[in-house]
């Protein structure tokens, strides 16, 4: 699966007419931009035209790619794709050059167009351009070639390019979600490891549900997932290789191992191990198999997460009486409590940007998803319900995904569990559609 970037916007080979057009653009015009750090952003109207093609296959790919791009952008909450029915300029005419007046009339601030071509070797070539409709300038233009089956990924990469060019932040559409697919009654719940693209496409079950599985997390390079499995009724941390489908137990521990996460460089896994009823935090080096104990407390220590620079660890402990969040140096030294608000705090996860820690909070019988700075200041709650749990970060640190479980009745009704995403601003709450009930989502980094 190779995607080559054939052209960048700066060295795109323009037809002569396009070069001339570039000279007549008025200088000094403000650049098209969305500031996503604002509390509530009015979505930017954007026209995503079906990509052009000659053959019916090319036309179909062009249309499908454009629809995936538009859906990605729309779901971010930052863009408002314009209804295609209102487009004035046809796709064919776009091939030579946008008539910007036609796009201004329908209030498009940005325009995406492209071209698909099936190459003689059977590969699919996709080129796209993003135009600033008001300044009449090309913001980005790139081309990719890949096997045709990979067209969705190209669409996500294009959506990431557009997001990046307009917000100044890296995107998160070319990513995957690993999660726990749930089915059956609560007392005999079947749980399977499942993986899908961030938009729910390419869904696949990785385990058959014969063993209980919980809390999957990606390795930084995405080829592995670490998770808890009850294989043989012995709860231990495993590593699943996505390419080979093989699962391997992590180390040889005398007690239950759980709450695994990879270190930012992927060379270690941080886990909790319970021995004689007490849970402490350990790391295991995947190459040398060396195990290091980081906490030595009689309290529960669990749910450890590295800071992205791997200098610190945030974790959950009840050493102060109830569940609270603590940070410590990566060698286990200088533990420090960071949560002093009312309620219990759990499941801390350090943002990939390093600036925030996401958590689950339990207060007065309600559950919350929130974020705070690594010193515990600036707490903001982003979601609340009967039960919300287990936040995971988009790779750009701008969106959180979590699961929400509804109340259940004594007859076993209700109790539905679903995945949701929400902006760091608390806006744009969206359900991620899954074939069955779902919990414990983990968002991958951008696919390498």
């Amino acid at each position: 699966m190779v995607i080559s970037v054939l052209h960048r916007s700066r060295n795109w080979i323009y037809p002569a007419t396009l070069l001339l057009a570039a000279f007549i653009v008025a200088p000094g015009q403000a650049e098209l931009r969305i500031d996503i750090t604002q509390g509530s952003v009015k979505p930017m109207p954007i026209a995503v035209a079906d990509m052009n093609g000659q053959s019916s296959d090319e036309i179909t790919f062009g249309r499908d790619i454009a629809r995936v791009v538009a859906t990605d952008l729309e779901r971010s909450g930052l863009f408002d794709p314009i209804d295609r029915a209102s487009f004035i300029q046809t796709n064919d005419a776009l091939l030579s050059r946008p008539r910007f007046g036609d796009w201004r009339i329908i209030n498009a601030q940005a325009l995406v167009q492209g071209l698909t071509k099936i190459l003689p070797d059977g590969r699919l070539r996709i080129e796209f351009r993003l135009w600033d409709v008001f300044s009449e300038t090309e913001m980005v233009g790139k081309a990719y070639s890949t096997v045709p089956d990979n067209w969705r990924r190209v669409a996500h990469i294009i959506a990431d390019e557009i997001y990046n060019r307009i917000t100044g932040e890296s995107g998160y559409f070319d990513t995957r979600i690993v999660y726990i697919a749930e089915s059956g009654p609560a007392n005999r719940r079947k749980k399977r490891l499942a993986i899908m693209d961030q938009d729910g496409a390419n869904h696949r079950f990785l385990t058959d549900g014969s063993s209980l599985v919980l809390t999957p997390r990606f390795s930084p390079e995405l080829q592995e997932i670490t998770y808890l499995s009850y294989i043989g009724n012995v709860p231990r941390v495993y590593i699943f290789n996505i390419d080979t489908g093989r699962q391997e137990i992590l180390g040889d521990f005398p007690g239950m191992t759980f709450a695994p996460r990879f270190s930012p460089d992927g060379k270690q896994v941080i886990i909790s191990m319970a021995r004689g009823g007490n849970s402490d935090i350990f790391t295991m080096d995947l190459r040398t198999r060396k195990v290091t104990q980081l906490t030595f407390h009689t309290a529960i220590d669990t749910s450890a997460s590295f800071s992205p620079d791997a200098s610190q660890i945030v974790f959950n402990s009840d050493r102060g009486g109830t569940q609270q969040l603590y940070t410590m140096a990566v060698d286990g030294q200088t533990p420090r409590r960071i949560t002093y608000g009312s309620g219990r705090y759990a499941t801390p996860v350090w943002s990939p940007r390093g600036d925030l820690i996401a958590f689950t909070k339990i207060h007065k019988g309600r559950f919350f998803i929130g974020v705070m700075r690594p010193d515990g200041s600036g707490e903001r709650l982003l979601a609340e319900d009967f039960l919300v749990e287990s936040p995971t970060w988009s790779p750009n640190g701008r969106v959180l995904m979590f699961f929400r479980q509804s109340k259940s009745g004594s007859d076993g009704s209700g109790g539905r569990s679903r995945l949701f995403s929400v902006d760091l601003t608390g806006n744009n709450l969206r359900e991620i559609i899954t074939p069955t009930d779902a919990s414990d989502p983990a968002w991958s980094p951008l696919i390498p």
Binding site: R189, A274, S303, I362, S390, S408, G412
Partner: protein, 174 residues
């Protein structure tokens, strides 16, 4: 059936006297003349029972397989200790039986913390049985956190039923 329960309670009362908690039963009088501090074998399977001695059914019907905990708690109250006293006597009467103790939680906690809490609950029960003389090699513990509720429904009543440790015959040593 009465005489059996009386016998077990006598042992329970004896053990309870060692702990700091007050003995809550008024039936302890029968234990007054037991001089030896060592718990005595008192369990006898009911006459004419079709239940196999040492089976899970035997444990559930004649002893009690589970004890309950308060919210975010793992300490054993008097009622829980009384059940475990009976379990210890039953294990003594069935020396070939090995057990697993499962620790469980209600749905009002987070998954990973509940795994740790379930582990604590299972070990609370195990430690108590071991104190009573049960060989630790006969007892395995496993935590299911909030993954295996026994009572359905999001109610206080269901949550109280689910905050439990359950003794299951078999599986020791794995």
């Amino acid at each position: 059936m009465r005489f059996k329960i009386f016998g077990v309670l006598a042992a329970a009362a004896l053990l309870s006297a060692c702990a700091s908690d007050p003995v809550e039963t008024g039936m302890a009088s029968g234990a007054g003349n037991v001089a030896d501090a060592k718990p005595v074998e008192t369990y006898t399977a009911p006459l004419g029972s079709t239940i196999a001695a040492g089976s899970q059914e035997d444990l559930v019907v004649n002893v009690g397989d589970r004890v309950f905990f308060g919210f975010d708690e793992y300490t054993l109250d008097g009622k829980s200790r009384a059940v475990l006293d009976k379990q210890a006597a039953w294990l003594s009467a069935n020396p070939s039986v090995t057990i697993s103790i499962e620790g469980h939680c209600d749905e009002r906690g987070t998954r990973e913390y509940n795994l740790a809490l379930g582990e604590r609950r299972a070990n609370s029960a195990k430690d108590y049985l071991v104190q009573l003389g049960v060989n630790p090699s006969r007892v395995r513990t496993i935590s299911y956190g909030k993954e295996r509720p026994v009572a359905l429904g999001s109610t206080e009543g269901a949550w109280a039923q689910n905050r439990r440790s359950v003794t299951v015959v078999g599986n020791a040593g794995s």
